[in-house]
Symmetry: C2
Subunit: 222 residues, 2 copies
Amino acid sequence: MGRPVKSERKSDPRVLVAANGRRAPEVTTDRRAQLVETAAEVFAQKGVGNTTMRDIADEAGILAGSLYHHFRSKDDLLEEVLRSALDELTVAYEKVERSELDAVSALEGLMLVGLRFVTEKEAVTSIVQNDYTYLHDMAAFSFVDDITAVHRKIWRRVLERGVREEAFRADLDLDIAYRSMMAAIVAEVRWRRGRARKPTAEVLAEKHSMFYLHGLVARGKK
Amino acid sequence: MGRPVKSERKSDPRVLVAANGRRAPEVTTDRRAQLVETAAEVFAQKGVGNTTMRDIADEAGILAGSLYHHFRSKDDLLEEVLRSALDELTVAYEKVERSELDAVSALEGLMLVGLRFVTEKEAVTSIVQNDYTYLHDMAAFSFVDDITAVHRKIWRRVLERGVREEAFRADLDLDIAYRSMMAAIVAEVRWRRGRARKPTAEVLAEKHSMFYLHGLVARGKK
DNA sequence: GTCTATAGTAGGATAGAC
DNA sequence: GTCTATCCTACTATAGAC
């Protein structure tokens, strides 16, 4: 990479086809969604900056130029990879918050949702985690920060409620708590990538909850 | 980036000058060390893949070609950036382990050392954190993993000792504990970069220790 | 929807003057 | 130790045939 790319985003091919009134949308979406999936995998594997359109095309079994029939630019393709996945995550977090569980259960719920995302969308998680600098320096990807901010607010509200309801320690530093847990969840993707034995999100959530709820120190002591 | 670069590493200018028997080593080192510092900053800011030799040269006030008088290649330069800093971190961790504190204090010590590194070497931490994929895919940078493995073993020994001495919970999952704390420490660099108010390592260590030692749950409850 | 071919650009690295 | 000039390579993106 390195060549600056301005994506201006205009029409979406799917909309055009839909307007024709033909084809099941599922099939229409297929090729495009399939390419997005492939791209996600390659971006995650090599890093966005080191991924060329040819890399993606190779993996998809076509030539680089053909990708431009589906996407306006490399950044356009990346945007589609990220936006679809992150929007799903928002919905899942919101569902936990709306469920009105007690604070401890709600936090466990958020953790499970976060870890499910990490385990089910390894590629996207890797991209967000590994290409942080790339994404943050390009105005075109500020939407990632916007979405992340929404997630943070949900977590914060649950933590605040926990303190208010005296389920969590009163002297808790909520910034530290949020940052630590989020960092740990996202970092899980680095431990599981390319590994044979991949623990399920449920197992990980159970362990993380245990760790964060009770801490390191043995109960009997102090 | 994208162009594969093989660094083979041969003579070091400093050695040659030293062999001449002239100059204070400090002054001799200066220019090179200064360039390494500058490079670290630029790599951290833009990401390794998006940093060009011209970017670094601009920041240093020279032309791109001149950098090759000091370093054999871009990767060579990056290697120097990383190796010097990470070796220092190893020494600091080892010092904590040798001090034979009780497990809780030792863990607090490791945390402080880790956070001091993050706060004092923001650039290097950012690079290791953000260009994870780049570093892991190139054989030339496997030394980063080697060094990290040494750090992990030190942390693990302290955690294991804590459990043995019954300072830490017996049912602690050491993998989760280590990963979580390390992820949180390294992630701190993302929160402080470009921020006006930067908490000191000491303040952060105090807060992280509090959080990890005691967890979220209020004592009175459960 | 994919191909061939290619324009246009930019980065890594080198050689030799100063 | 830095500069000028340049080679080589590789990537993004486009145009038009099939």
